[in-house]
Symmetry: C2
Subunit: 242 residues, 2 copies
């Protein structure tokens, strides 16, 4: 009857919750909900999260979904979580809520819009949507610029902190989704943002070795997808030459 985390490590908010539990030594059971097998639509899972999204948790009879709400709940319900993850200080906590709220309609919306519509949809047999991908990229670039010039302007981590909070982990896991793009596209998008790149590295270091371990499936999938895309582009090149 302890903490159960329903997650698919291909999902960025799932990874944030799993890494967070691991780094804080929380005793939990990870239950895989394979989104590509549509397990999130099973009646059993819908009884936990009727929105059919991952992650969700149960803690005894208590059920919860939405990753930010889950991270805050774990910070408060489990003893031993270091205070920098979700500080008790009112002003610091308010700033963390602010950046987490901002995330929804900015970084997350941009990243999902771009990566899903340009890569994950076609790879999983859905039609690609270049218009939605383009809109997503526009929102993503604007969000990265705000991260560089505002959210990261006062410290190594978000909102002027010297240690990571749940917001750093959540947002960096989102940006990791760009690994699905071609290396050229990923670099084109991220390389102008030096502070963002440093912050990604700092967050990885602060959550090692769990960060890379939990992202393992993403790197495997990335390799397969990049090879497949290379082959596809080779085919089209060949076709255009014939």
């Amino acid at each position: 009857m302890g903490l159960k985390v329903y997650a698919d490590r291909m999902s960025q908010p799932s990874r944030a919750v799993v890494i967070f539990c691991k780094i804080n030594g929380i005793d939990f059971e990870e239950i895989r909900i394979d989104i590509f097998k549509k397990q999130q639509f099973s009646p059993e899972y819908k009884a936990i999260n009727p929105m059919s999204l991952v992650p969700a948790i149960t803690d005894g009879r208590f059920k919860l979904f939405e990753s930010h709400a889950i991270l805050i709940y774990i910070c408060c319900a489990f003893p031993g979580v270091a205070s920098h993850w979700y500080p008790g200080d009112l002003a610091k906590r308010a700033k963390i809520h602010s950046v987490l709220d901002w995330h929804h309609s900015n970084l997350r919306r941009g990243s999902v819009g771009l990566v899903f519509n340009s890569i994950l949809a076609p790879v999983n047999g859905f039609p690609s949507n270049p218009r939605a991908a383009k809109e997503g990229e526009k929102i993503l670039l604007k969000s990265l610029s705000k991260l560089e010039t505002f959210w990261l302007k006062d410290g190594r981590f978000l909102v002027g902190s010297s240690q990571p909070s749940i917001a750093d982990l959540s947002l960096v896991c989102e940006i990791m989704q760009l690994e699905f793009l071609s290396e050229k596209d990923r670099n084109r998008i991220l390389s102008p943002y030096k502070k963002v790149l440093q912050w990604i590295d700092d967050t990885k270091t602060a959550t090692a070795p769990h960060f890379d371990e939990v992202h393992g499936i993403l790197f495997k999938a990335q390799k397969v997808i990049r090879e497949r895309m290379k082959a596809e582009s080779g085919k089209s090149e060949l076709k255009s030459k014939l």
Copy 2:
């Protein structure tokens, strides 16, 4: 140096914050940032909220934006706010975070997508975007259905509460934006959702007389917009008859 709320009552999250301060007898100064006059882009306002959105607050030297974060901050920083707005109980508070997080990419995204692209954009001289409006309506209808069947299933207010929380106020202020649509469209969209309609009324009653007072500008604007749209549609009818 007390609490200052930077708001435009045409904006739904601005209204939620202003109503909340009034109902809780909080001493604050409301400073109008007229979004149709683009005052949110002034250097003075960008020093408070670099995202150029309303609302934002200052409390002495402390600055904050994102309405959910603001509401939570006020609940915690000002004595005398009744606990039902943001309960101290961990599980209840987590559920409120969950519905507020859900709001961003669902109800809010749907409502803004529909109302801005079909009504507010053309009225303010921007091109209307029927595709984005249609997408918004789709998300909005799905969100209303989740409100009816899930979020309101266990009580008069969200997440099984018998008294309103900051989430009720925030989400109901969002739905009020539908008043900008024609009466026919508003009723077509909302009338299937009986629990939602009752909940809107209950939230209005629980926050009277401030709810209607703060929405005054919306009702005035609604009248002007509906008359203008009627005249436009009359013109097109006349044209088609000639």
